[in-house]
């Protein structure tokens, strides 16, 4: 009986991992063209981690890095060829204009901090 429960639970956890980390997505925060959207860099996450931006319009992401660990030192928009160094405690603006709708990841150098720009 125990064996069934443990195995069942194990498989359920695996299904949960697949669903939570790959199949489902967090809600996106919308960025309007004119104002900068604050992105807090702390505790291993970008907050918000999913940002909806309009295609073809310049948006400003204002990164506020609170985490002094070297992991948080840079934000990389790999698909856009943009890498910015983030000073600790000082807001750092990244202005982007993306014409093609789609999803564009932004990460730290080591891919631990992860966020997505959802261009619509």
């Amino acid at each position: 009986m125990n064996v069934f429960i443990v195995n069942g639970l194990g498989l359920l956890i695996i299904a949960g991992i697949i669903y939570w980390f790959w199949l489902s997505k967090p809600g996106a925060q919308k960025a309007e063209g004119e104002t900068a959207i604050d992105v807090i860099v702390d505790n291993g996450v970008y907050d918000p981690a999913r940002i909806e931006v309009p295609a073809g319009k310049t948006v400003t992401l204002r990164f506020i890095r609170k985490d002094a660990s070297p992991c948080a030192a840079k934000v990389v928009f790999d698909d856009l060829g943009v890498t910015e160094e983030l000073p600790v405690g000082k807001p750092h603006d990244v202005m982007l204009k993306i014409d093609e709708p789609g999803e564009y990841a932004f990460t730290c150098e080591m891919q631990m901090y992860r966020g997505v720009l959802q261009v619509v």
Binding site: I18, F21, W22, P26, N43, G44, A68, E85, E109, Q111
Partner: protein
Amino acid sequence: MSEIRLSIAGMSCAGCVASVEKALNNVPGVVEASVNFAEHTATVTGDVDEALLIKAVADAGYEAAVMRGLDDESEKQAAETAYYRASMRKFIVAGVIGLPLFIISIFDLLPGVEQARALWLGIGLLSLFVLLYSGRHFFIGAWKAFRVHNANMDTLIALGTGTAWVYSMIITLFPDIVPAKGRHVYYEAAAIIIALINLGSALEMRARGKTSEAIRRLIGLQPRKARVIRDGRELDVPIDEVGLGETLRVRPGEKIPVDGEIIDGSSHVDESMLTGEPMPVEKQVGDTVAAGTINEQGSFLFRATGIGEQTALARIIEMVRRAQNTKPAIGRLVDKVAGVFVPVVLIVAVLTFLAWYNFGPDPRISYAVVTMMTVLIIACPCALGLATPISIMVGVGKAAEFGVLIRNGEALQEAGKLTAVVLDKTGTVTEGRPAVVDILPLDGHDRATVLAMAVAVETGSEHPLAQAILSAGEAEGVAASAAESFTAIAGHGVSATVDGTRILFGNDRLMQKEGIDIGEAGERLAALSGRGNTVMLLAIDGRLAGLVVVADPVKPDSAEAIARLHKLGIKVYMLTGDHADTARAVADKVGIDEVFAQVLPEDKDKHVAELQARGEIVGMVGDGINDAPALARANVGFAIGTGTDVAIESADITLMRGSLHGVADAIAISRATVRNIWQNLFGAFIYNTLGIPVAAGVLYPFTGLLLNPVIAGAAMAMSSVTVVTNANRLRFFRVKSS
């Protein structure tokens, strides 16, 4: 809302103030802009892009630059030091508690949980303190990441150590739920792992500090103060208060504070810190000087032409910084792996648990928990993610030390693969300062007439050969008439009318084209060309009137640099518009393999394409201005400079000093960096692909060996440190020319 100070040049009256203010106030985001005419500055408040302000002022007919020194690294260093200290503090607290527990556990110094439950409960609470004090950030990070559907290093550490603690507490409180043999607790593992990972973070921070040594050195070149002359008085002012157009004094041994042009005095300036050129450069009135370089003996006055972020030094720093942040293709592939790594490890950990639970020996639950925990702890995606960028960072910085500015990671990677290098002749292989060495009049004309006619048709031309003619004319005091109906024929020469006679001046192909018989002069032309001279022919009214012999000396180290390229296994070609005999003579002097002579400027890129079609990976070396299409066509374009004036960013790789050694240096550094990246990737990949199965216990059925979670923690903590340390080895890389 921020305040930006601009230096404004070109304002001559109070009316200018109004137009500059109006231009600035019209920029979107500006709340207020005020101009100080006396100081020639403007202060702008608002939320605005600096580039838009500079453009607005330029559109109004003035010149503006942001007034500030280069940001120093002191704030960054302070933050890094604080982080290092915090990590060390957490390490020490966790270590002081964890180490005795580890010793107790190894030597089995305490009775089991059934016999001394209260004691183990106390130990459990002590280790909980470690998790909360030294490991809190892992748990907060893991939870925050989980909420946004992300999993990272914190997830693995929090789950690994959390599992160890929770399982141990359950055993302590309810020992009967597992068989007697399995009643082992892992409080010490949780504490020691937290200690080791904090130690790893601290050591990694230390090692990383060294990777940005090159950029720190460049930033450190800018002096903090400058001596300006205002109202006839010399004042020492902070560097960010120096305005465009101000006059500054530099005394012997001082650093030059901003970019400028010498207006009085002369000296020798050590530019090695920017160009890698060890010999000091002579500077006279009219010459440019660059911020960060060091004045030797003389004293001079100069006018500021570039301040703040406009200086060559600032642009070099910006380019190096940008390049350090780019990734070559190999890095991107690894990122894809690193991006899905943690959830995959989580699944592997669950499968490990199930495998041991279903098929493991007794006590199964104990084995299942320990192996799962070890898998979570040993996996290190950071080492994978770090492998490429950290080497690029050090490699690009190292190259900058030798005056080699690499535009991006892709160029760095490509440079190492080159199989052929094409060199432009003039200014690349040779000095690029041709001089008239002989004039041979023909057909009854005299030397003075030939030179006068040549000077007349070349006046106003910027071509290096024209400059040689004009210098010769000046030296001999030739009075030339004005030329009319001037036509330049690319790759051939020029034609014009002077004093009613038609003059043709150019190479033998121009004469052929115009149907002019060069007769016996052809032999002399071949002989002179065969000695490496460039021979120009002058025809007056359709008859050959003389030969002007120009020589452009080969750079003293070209032959040595080309020999280095050969040693690196690279074929060396030379492209030139010159006569084949001239080109061959120069090529033979320096050991070039093959020559493309009499190439028209617009055909240079075709030769590069031709080599590429033959399967060569081609680097093209030119001045970055006349060779733009060929540089763009090549796999890697090298712009070779003559000091700090070089057009930075005009090519994939910019060589700040004029020597061809820069090409060999760039290729050698590229190869060393790519080798370093592969070592890192191999290490990180092998570490994870071997470490995870071993942690899962694949060796157990054959050897009875199971990895201790504490050892896994130590391995994980050191894996990133190893990658950074290996990248740091590149700092000690020496190129042969230095």
